[in-house]
């Protein structure tokens, strides 16, 4: 039997510099941590920050270079396993930014850096590696790479969720994550193996060509779509594959939950967009799906409605802020999925834009929880009473994040929803838009339950109302997120352009 293997050329790897830098950073941070025997934690911290900034600089440079050249349709890497194109460039920047602020904020977190914690350095090293893995997810254009990158993100996440080894909650969260993660990836793999069997191809455009030829049985293909969608929905925590999400977010250390709620989800969306739009639709602005017999847009639309409604309704009755944010992040996945079903480039660009603003506001909300947890050692809503007045500037920023998550102007979250709704209504999915709009009214109630506790409720007699002293770095990072959340709500031309460009320059 003759094996058909492409031997990749190493020169492609120069387009892969940010990922390579992050991998090296991971090794250096890990070894550095070993050398200082986990005592001088600033070593892995500094290495990670430096590595992320360097990788970010290269990613920006690559983006600019691609834009200057007028076309950024992509450079394939390692044969056809990966592609660095406009969309990959967008997600690279998003992930590096999210990881950078998380690493900075984790430095001040008691959960990560508390006196009795071991292996503090590992957190930084793992975050860096997670970033690299997520970037590969956004670049994969082959079933093998898709699987490997997803598993890489998964494996690192399992370890990070169980980071607080001494905490039973953390270990338990991690176990749930592993078990359900493994089974969902097995289900997805099964679908992938059948898809490979039906099309004889691994790379996405090969699969598409086989589908166009029309030799594939529609029913079998529907089974495959459902199986693969199951695995991907698990990654983005869409109903009915969401059940791990609240437990993991609540059990994991809050900085870890913060990056989980943003990074792997965004990576999952990147992967879904690339996979579905290169294999099952004729490009980003297809208008119709490729194989007419399989109405996967309707399937995903139903999932979208179920996800946002479930997330919002369950979030209503949460009393733990962290758990509430977990359910809210499920609801936001529902909003994001709306853009996915439209078969239009505006729909995809609106997903990217929403992911951008979601990253800002959701990280901000989680970080505020971290900052408060340092002092109160609690995430219960009842302990938040009067907290707004004890640290007014941080409280005001939290209000910005929560209002933005609700989707109230003039904050970025509103613009994200506006762009999504515009794309949805343009494609005349009216019921989807109406359900989503009503859902955002529901979400107002629970987001503002937090605001109410922070500012409105009268503290019980004898409650400590002394001002809280937050670490200066916490103010810096919160402002790094709050200012763009406000500014993007008023001036979003540039970033909308970036999202449009990223989708416009998505290579096949």
């Amino acid at each position: 039997m003759e094996l058909n293997l492409n031997i990749p050329s190493w020169s492609d790897l120069r387009f892969w510099l940010p990922e390579a830098i992050l991998c090296i950073t991971f090794l250096v941070a890990l070894l550095g941590d070993l050398v200082v025997r986990g005592r001088r934690t600033w070593v892995p911290f500094a290495v990670s920050v430096a590595g992320l900034i360097t990788a970010g600089a290269y990613a920006v440079a690559a983006m600019n270079h691609g834009l200057d050249a007028g076309q950024f349709q992509g450079h394939t890497i390692m044969g056809s396993l990966m592609i660095v194109d406009g969309m990959a460039g967008f997600f690279r920047l998003l992930f590096i930014f999210a990881s950078l602020v998380t690493v900075l904020f984790a430095w001040t977190s008691e959960e990560i850096m508390g006196k009795r914690r071991e292996n503090k350095g590992e957190f930084y090293a793992l975050t860096v590696l997670l970033t690299a893995a997520m970037m590969v997810m956004a670049e994969a254009r082959d079933l093998l790479m898709l699987f490997l990158s997803m598993e890489a993100v998964g494996l690192i996440s399992y370890v990070m969720a169980g980071y607080m080894r001494t905490s039973l909650r953390s270990s338990e969260a991690s176990l749930k994550y592993v078990l359900f993660g493994a089974v969902s990836s097995a289900i997805m793999l099964y679908g992938m193996s059948l898809l490979y069997g039906m099309t004889g191809a691994m790379e996405f455009d090969g699969i598409r060509n086989a589908l166009i030829s029309g030799t594939v049985d529609p029913f079998a293909l529907l089974v495959v779509v459902v199986l693969i969608l199951a695995g991907m929905s698990y990654k983005i925590a869409a109903v009915p594959f969401h059940y791990w999400c609240p437990d993991v977010y609540e059990g994991a250390p809050t900085p870890v939950s913060a990056i989980f709620s943003v990074g792997p989800k965004a990576a999952g969306f990147a992967l879904m967009i690339r996979f579905f739009y290169t294999t099952f639709a004729a490009g980003t602005d297809a208008g119709t799906q490729l194989v007419q017999d399989i109405n996967w847009p309707l399937l995903v639309a139903v999932m979208s409605v179920a996800t946002m409604t479930y997330g919002n309704l369950v979030a209503l009755r949460q009393t733990n802020v962290k758990r509430m944010l977990a359910y809210s992040s499920i609801a936001h996945v529902g909003y994001l999925l709306m853009g996915f079903v439209l078969l239009s480039s505006a729909g995809l660009a609106s997903i990217l834009f929403y992911l951008l603003v979601y990253t800002l506001m959701n990280l901000g909300a989680f970080f505020y929880v971290v900052a408060i947890n340092n002092h109160l050692k609690s995430e219960e809503l009842s302990d938040y009473v009067g907290i707004g007045f004890r640290a007014p500037w941080a409280g005001a920023m939290m209000v910005i994040f929560l209002a933005s998550l609700t989707g109230v102007p003039p904050f970025a979250g509103f613009v994200g929803k506006f762009y999504l709704f515009t794309a949805v209504l343009d494609k005349q999915w009216f019921w989807l838009a109406i359900v989503a709009a009503l859902n955002s009214v529901v979400s107002l109630y629970y987001y503002f339950k937090v605001v109410r506790a922070m500012f409105l409720s009268t503290p019980a007699e004898g409650t400590d109302m002394s001002p809280l002293k937050l670490h200066w770095l916490q103010y810096v990072v919160l402002a790094m997120l709050a200012i763009p959340t406000l500014a993007l709500g008023l001036f979003f031309e540039e970033f909308k352009g970036l999202a449009d460009m990223a989708i416009g320059m998505m290579g096949g």
Partner: protein, 101 residues
């Protein structure tokens, strides 16, 4: 009887379903992990069979990679289980309810 592609696929499907059912029915975390391994093996069979069918090396590569990933997954899963067993003296997932509301 000649062994055809269909036979391989049926075998794989049977193993996959066995693993799936086992995962749902059993409450012992170690058994659950083993069931997942079973599911992954069935995927390997499908890939290997199709690789031969299409005379394409991609499927074989996938199988090899899958081995590595499955091993890593099992390693992490077991490490976490050991940690939990040390404290709780149980690996029954129904007993692990700290996080439930």
């Amino acid at each position: 009887m000649e062994i055809t592609l269909t036979h391989y696929l049926l075998l794989a499907a049977a193993i996959f379903v066995t693993g799936m059912v086992g995962f749902i029915v059993r409450r012992n975390a170690i058994v659950m992990l083993m069931c997942v391994e079973l599911m992954l093996s069935s995927v390997n069979i499908v890939f290997a069979a199709f690789s031969r069918f299409h005379l394409d090396g991609g499927g074989h590569v996938f199988v090899l990679m899958n081995f590595a990933v499955a091993a890593a997954e099992a390693a992490i899963g077991l490490a976490i289980l050991v940690e939990i067993f040390r404290r709780r003296r149980t690996v029954n997932v129904d007993d692990l309810k700290t996080l439930m509301e």
